[in-house]
Symmetry: D2
Amino acid sequence: MGAGAGGVSTEAARSHPLLRVFSVERDPQRRNYLLENRRRFGLLNLEVIAGEAPEALHSLPAPDRIFIGGSGGRLAEILEFCTSLEFPGPLVLTLVSLENLSCAEKILSRQGFDLEVAQISVFRSRRLSGHTLLSPENPVFVLRAERRVARKGDEG
Amino acid sequence: MGAGAGGVSTEAARSHPLLRVFSVERDPQRRNYLLENRRRFGLLNLEVIAGEAPEALHSLPAPDRIFIGGSGGRLAEILEFCTSLEFPGPLVLTLVSLENLSCAEKILSRQGFDLEVAQISVFRSRRLSGHTLLSPENPVFVLRAERRVARKGDEG
Amino acid sequence: MGAGAGGVSTEAARSHPLLRVFSVERDPQRRNYLLENRRRFGLLNLEVIAGEAPEALHSLPAPDRIFIGGSGGRLAEILEFCTSLEFPGPLVLTLVSLENLSCAEKILSRQGFDLEVAQISVFRSRRLSGHTLLSPENPVFVLRAERRVARKGDEG
Amino acid sequence: MGAGAGGVSTEAARSHPLLRVFSVERDPQRRNYLLENRRRFGLLNLEVIAGEAPEALHSLPAPDRIFIGGSGGRLAEILEFCTSLEFPGPLVLTLVSLENLSCAEKILSRQGFDLEVAQISVFRSRRLSGHTLLSPENPVFVLRAERRVARKGDEG
């Protein structure tokens, strides 16, 4: 959910043709980008869902993996709903604010998930009067959560 | 070339089944990883080439795109050879040393390529007595070069 | 407090000879470094306090500014004590764990402080077979807190 | 030289009252900031030099240490001049462009200096609708050069 222009969901759908990808996006313009990408790459396995998480998630089939690219200010509700589902794979979030990072860590730990956090920062070159400067982009936190119990079950 | 364990080449081969990927790697153990990944994902479009660049490149068909993940101390020679080829797409390199960055910029600029540089740094969480620390990884420079002349030709 | 080897406190004492600096450090070896620096630079305005915060703080005169370089696992207690004091200047903390960052933000916001956070990351060159690699150091969060009420009073 | 508003030179002059600091700055407005800081902190040991490096350096007494904060596009000339001087201490530069970094490394290595490079990047918090985002600043390279020969002499 929070699929944006679909960088993650179209990549997932392209690389794994047998995967069924549901992309929830509330913003009509971003949904148009998604649909354009879907058409352009012939991604019959990508479904674009209009609506807002967590409500829009109720009608979807049980997921295998969950990716949350944005939460529209409703991160806690979305995570409470997602962690109430049974799903084997990881839940991955990208976050930019310290409050959301801390909120996600708290909810996911309490719900029995193991967490890995990575902070990624990229500096891109910019030319200025014959010189190459490194211009920084906003750093992003990537949180990967995997259910502790589910993992034990796999091993047992 | 410098394919390593094949993170880039196996991803490329998987996402684009119609692409033919040639992976040059001089290290036997890394080649084994590559072959293992090839078998595991059924990548018939990935060919693993034993040998060292630039010599090992002479017998390959004309490329569409070039990715250089490592240069085994022979970056200048490799770039001189690659820039002598005609190929429409970008040449992408990953670099870790300031000397190689500067060397690549000089050769590619002189050979008529437009350059973009990005520096990527990742901090990964590490648990230490109940706390989450951000542990830094070595930053990587990614250089993307596109031929100025070739692009003009595309447009005209 | 958490003065360590005294990078911050000796610099403060040197640059501002009229300032009286109290340096609380529980570790005997680090205290020795502090005392050595004190002697070396003739810093009569630097007092080294043996003990652990927050207990060791009770006997100190009312501060003007507070710097917390380390908290020995007792950040919440230390911040509760410090925010109970009246002091005009900023409180500055350096932190490395996400939990401490989030804990400090919560306590200081609740106690009526305005916060600024900076994350500082340094890559240092390392020579490896004739090449200069950038080797990353652990990133540090610097938190600067200033009391909202005190500032309003200044303006009114 | 390239003293800017004098962050480095006023700090140096304040912390080390017995040091004589010469601050070369070609921009009149920045010189005014420097003079204001000089007056404000009573820094009798700070001299503000109007002019451009390297010309403005010819009339100065032999330095002990050199700090170059900016080079106004004339880095190579400035470094050629500075390295022609005899001075015991380190030469420190701050740089933002990859070309200047590479230029400084080349000249200083050739002139017999040992180099250390650090890249410093700072993310500062920014509040956006109740959230704390980390907003990146331009990364800076700090280069510290020390003469190889001079150091051997010290030891011998």
